[in-house]
Symmetry: none
Subunit: 218 residues, 4 copies
DNA sequence: AATGAATGAGATTTCATTCAT
DNA sequence: TATGAATGAAATCTCATTCAT
């Protein structure tokens, strides 16, 4: 019984530690996100991140291998988020142009609009930072593209149609992702047209749909 | 007569100097381009650029204010090149969907295919490098977008049609540029699919045309 | 009890750290002083200072913002020292010409003679080095002058006399400081007349006294 | 006759060249003076001097061995000027305290007031710049001191008196120069009290006279 | 686990000086 | 004589990373 009690206590404090650890990890990541988006990856020093997260520099290196690793993990988190919000919208969407439309709008309204810093990280700060980061960034794009691609394939399947050329579907997926990326960057990072975004998104998505119809050989 | 001869000589040597200056400027720029594309902007030191250009480090600073300025000038040159090759294709194109197609193909085949390093500079190395660079990069995009936009407007004009919403044309221009950007990056930088590029380009362009038709309200 | 012991240990090591920090700070300052006096401010590189202080260059920048800051802090320390030795002699002196004499001699014998490097720093190395340094140097002079001035005023007060013109006292204070400065510089830096200094100082001080009497309108 | 004429011509153009050379030399010196006083010796680049003098950098090195030499020559010119204006006033003065007074006032009113830049050069910019410059600066002071000293000796001689100690005269000369230096620097460089200078000078000079009387053992 | 002082390699930049024309 | 492009040594400073406590 005494044993059990002790175990209980140990395990309770172990749990608390575990929780604190996870929390600290998140605090650091979110501090880094804020600073990277505001002052740039290069422009942010490890010390600044530590300060904002209210930990010491040494602690940063307990949770992350190095600065690049911090960015990679940040990126992975953002990639997860994109899929959660958008990718799933694509994959869950009933295979129809309507489903496509809804998924596209979700990207703009549910991801870009509430998270402009994440946008800045993936599309600006993580670009051109060495191989690890580029690999992680590439993976985000590839998964996004794969989600769109699979939606396109299911769409054709359901319509009993096929695409004009062997590359059509893939190229379309890549194109759609590129479109979304630049539209978001242009209207949220370069020009703050937050208010117009819904209408802008609609146009972008409809443009997409037009392209798909064009390459769908019934 | 002796005077004239002397003047002649002076002017001749002055001309040669002028020529050498221009040449050296270009040599430095092209060395920087090569290295930035291969090893990244940060990964390339001024000394390496000097070595490749076969000049001293000091000379670099005689021609360029600092490293950032070197990148900005490089970027400006590339921007000029894009407009020359592509922008003009858009603006010269007869205002028709066919003209659009040809201009789009020109981007892929006449700019991206022969200049993958320039692609890497604009779309990767120049991203997230401080305000001067970002401004220059933004300008390249804005001009590209403006060229596409004006082509879209002339097209509608000629067809006697208009676009569905007040933002349609602009959003389409931004979308098209984003599409082209990522398609090129994906198939030339991330995956070397040089051989497939013509077919890929055709699909991308046709997708574009479909989108335009969709938003063109006759 | 274990807790208390632990706290004890922590606090003890914290104290030691604090002490080491202060010590290192002083070591760096004194290394810089030695080198600046011997080889000049410009002639001394940060690396040389680091070597002499047996720390790394990075450590220099941990303790001082930059090279100028190092000089400024050095200067501040010297200024403090001058006041300690001399300024206080002036202000503590009974308000009499005799007190003046003793304070003047203290400057030469207790500050200049034992610290020729400090002399070289304030009167040679810190001259003409940008605004921060000049400001710090100016402050040293102003305080020195203020000390002399206040002594002069107290002297007149006690004697029930006043000075000939509204500027007399201030100009005398400035003059005295200038005299002392150049006499010290001339006989310790330019010509090593260490042995004659006591006699030299006496003459200088008596000259001062003559000047004061002259401007004192009883 | 033709020979003579030719010689004539040659010699005339040689004279003109000589004149132009001298003029250019002065232009460069005066440009350097302006810039050194305004931006500091270190803060001024050879290129800036060349620009202001409207010659090329190469030309600078035709007239001066190097940057230090430029400062040394500048200094020599200023030293010459000081003696011309002040030194001579001391040496020409009838050997009397009145002569002393007039010479002292001349320093402030005829040298310092009209040439604050020269003041800044000798007393600030030329301080702590390596051995050549220090030697030149030392020479200026030594000559100034020597002039004052000889006036002091003639004064005692005429009065049939002597100075209290073997060092008195020399120390007084050094003191006087130091006083004048700091008074000028304080009231013209640190605080602009141009308007009060005459009154300030009078006080300083009278202070001097008091000191001399004190050490003069009749 | 956490701390933060210390490290030191490395990069950019400056600028006095040279020299071919 | 004059020019000004080219040089390159030298110096400052940054900051990611380490490690003793």
């Amino acid at each position: 019984m005494a044993e059990a009690a002790k175990t209980e206590v140990v395990s309770r404090s172990a749990l608390r530690r575990q929780r604190e650890r996870e929390q600290r990890y998140q605090t650091i990541l979110s501090s880094a996100e804020t600073l990277f988006a505001a002052k740039g990856y290069q422009g942010t020093s490890m010390e600044e991140i530590a300060d904002l997260a209210e930990v010491s520099v040494g602690t940063l290196y307990f949770y992350f291998k190095n600065k690049e690793d911090l960015l990679v993990q940040l990126l992975d988190g953002i990639g997860f988020r994109i899929r959660e919000v958008v990718g799933s919208a694509f994959s869950r969407a009933e295979p129809s142009l309507d489903g496509f439309t809804r998924a596209g709008l979700a990207f703009f309204e549910e991801f870009c609009l509430p998270h402009p810093e994440k946008l800045a990280i993936v599309f600006r700060e993580a670009v051109g930072r060495g191989s690890m980061v580029e690999a992680s960034r590439k993976e985000i794009f590839e998964k996004f593209i794969a989600d769109v691609l699979s939606a396109l394939l299911r769409l054709a399947d359901k319509e009993g149609a096929s695409y004009k050329s062997r590359f059509s579907a893939e190229v379309m997926a890549v194109s759609i992702v590129g479109m979304y990326e630049r539209v978001a960057y242009n209207y949220l990072i370069w020009h703050d047209r937050t208010d117009d975004l819904p209408e802008i998104a609609e146009n972008a998505v409809e443009f997409t749909v037009g392209g798909i119809e064009k390459l769908l050989a019934k």
